[in-house]
Amino acid sequence: MIYYFSFRVIQNNIGDMINGLGLGLFIAVISLFFGIILGLIAAFAAVSSNRALNNIATWYTAFFRNTPLLVLIYIAYFGLPEVGIMMERNASFIFTLSFYAGAYMTEVFRAGLQAIPKGIIEAGQTIGLNRFHICWNIQLPIMFRYVLPSMSNYLISLFKDTSLAASITVPELTYFARKLNVETFRVFEAWLTAAFLYIVTCYLMAYLLRKLERKLRIEW
């Protein structure tokens, strides 16, 4: 059984694959950004005293966490146009991934908010702060520093999830790896390179994010 491993093949296609990698990173970061916004809104809805808001938040998180991401992608890309919402594939994928990330972030933020001791909120009330100030000056800063590790880990997870964009032919890394495989039958070159690129990127991200966390870890 002989297989001629060809570096030439990798060389010719590495450009596309790295572009795909870059796109994947970009998508992950943007989706996390929107996801954080959605997550904040839903987390406050989840901890508010309004029953209706609690329920909406619960259903939102349950739906996006229990339904397969691939199904969500198809619903958005193929299904929504039927009711008039059309998006090109990159936007559609980011749209889906943002809501998906938001559901996860909701849980993270909700736990973070509930971990803040009640006494601190009361202290804010006793120095006359209104609800907005307590939220903006006390709850959010404390919560964000608490959830930072979770968020950075999730960014890495989200980056791996971008591989699913290949299913709607978004030109990211997995899409190019499969294209290479199918067109040239160079099985090892395609997939070992892809795997290698993903692993290196993930470890690099983990390393950099750990450094960032250490820098941001304020004296408290």
């Binding site: 349950a62 739906f63 397969p68 691939l70 969500l72 198809y74 193929f78 795997a195």
Partner: protein, 217 residues
């Protein structure tokens, strides 16, 4: 709307069977091997640990989809050279199992490592050897910690089975594609499939909570 769903039930039944088969095997194989790997990762010496550590880190460092494609294409290629032809379903089960094994291994390792060493020492002082210590003292305590994330893995497998549609396994999502291709109405079919998965996963989580209660002390 319900008419077309009703008409589709035959196709969907096959899809459901495949989804369940794949998920079932992935969970069973993954749990068995995963616990074994986790045990090795916790208690093994550094030479024995190494290949398993490598395996787990690689699988967890690449997206599930890439694992699935890699195993499908690479294994398919290798085995076809020696005359074995895997069906898509079989490749799919192997790929999904590889993924779940790595996850369960990590969960098990974490749970076992969190049990204080003093428990092992206590077991030794009442005359037990490590094998009995593991079975009667360590594992029962580890199980309580393993179950919640394990339920999460089970739901991940259920959701992951949809990825197999991309390697041609005729599970629910692929069937949904076929229905959409013939009948249009993408939103309805995909939402319906989504609903099925949502219900299955909600059920799994509910059963998981019950299991947690039964096992905790």
């Amino acid at each position: 709307m319900f008419r077309s769903l009703y008409n589709a039930r035959i196709i969907l039944r096959i899809g459901a069977m495949n989804t369940i088969t794949v998920t079932f095997f992935a969970i069973i194989i993954g749990t068995t091997l995963g616990i074994l790997f986790g045990f090795i990762l916790c208690y093994g010496n550094k030479y024995i640990k190494f290949p398993f550590r490598l395996y787990v880190d690689i699988i967890r460092g690449i997206p599930g989809l890439v694992t699935i494609f890699s195993i499908y294409y690479i294994l398919g290629f290798l085995l076809s050279r020696v005359g074995i032809n895997l069906t898509n379903l079989e490749s799919g089960i192997i790929a999904l199992s590889a993924f779940s094994t790595a996850q369960v291994a990590e969960i098990t390792r974490g749970a076992l490592q969190s049990i204080p060493k003093s428990q092992i020492e206590a077991g030794k002082t009442i005359g037990l050897h490590f094998d009995k210590i593991f079975v009667f003292i360590l594992f029962p305590q580890a199980i309580v910690q393993i179950i919640p994330p394990w339920i999460n893995t089970a739901t991940e497998m259920t959701k992951g089975s949809t990825l197999l549609s991309l390697i041609g396994v005729s599970e629910l999502l692929l069937n949904a594609h076929q229905l959409v291709a013939t009948n249009g109405r993408a939103l309805m079919y995909y939402m319906f499939i989504g609903l099925i998965f949502f219900l299955i996963n909600t059920l799994i989580q509910f059963l998981g909570k019950l299991l947690e209660k039964k096992v905790s002390f």
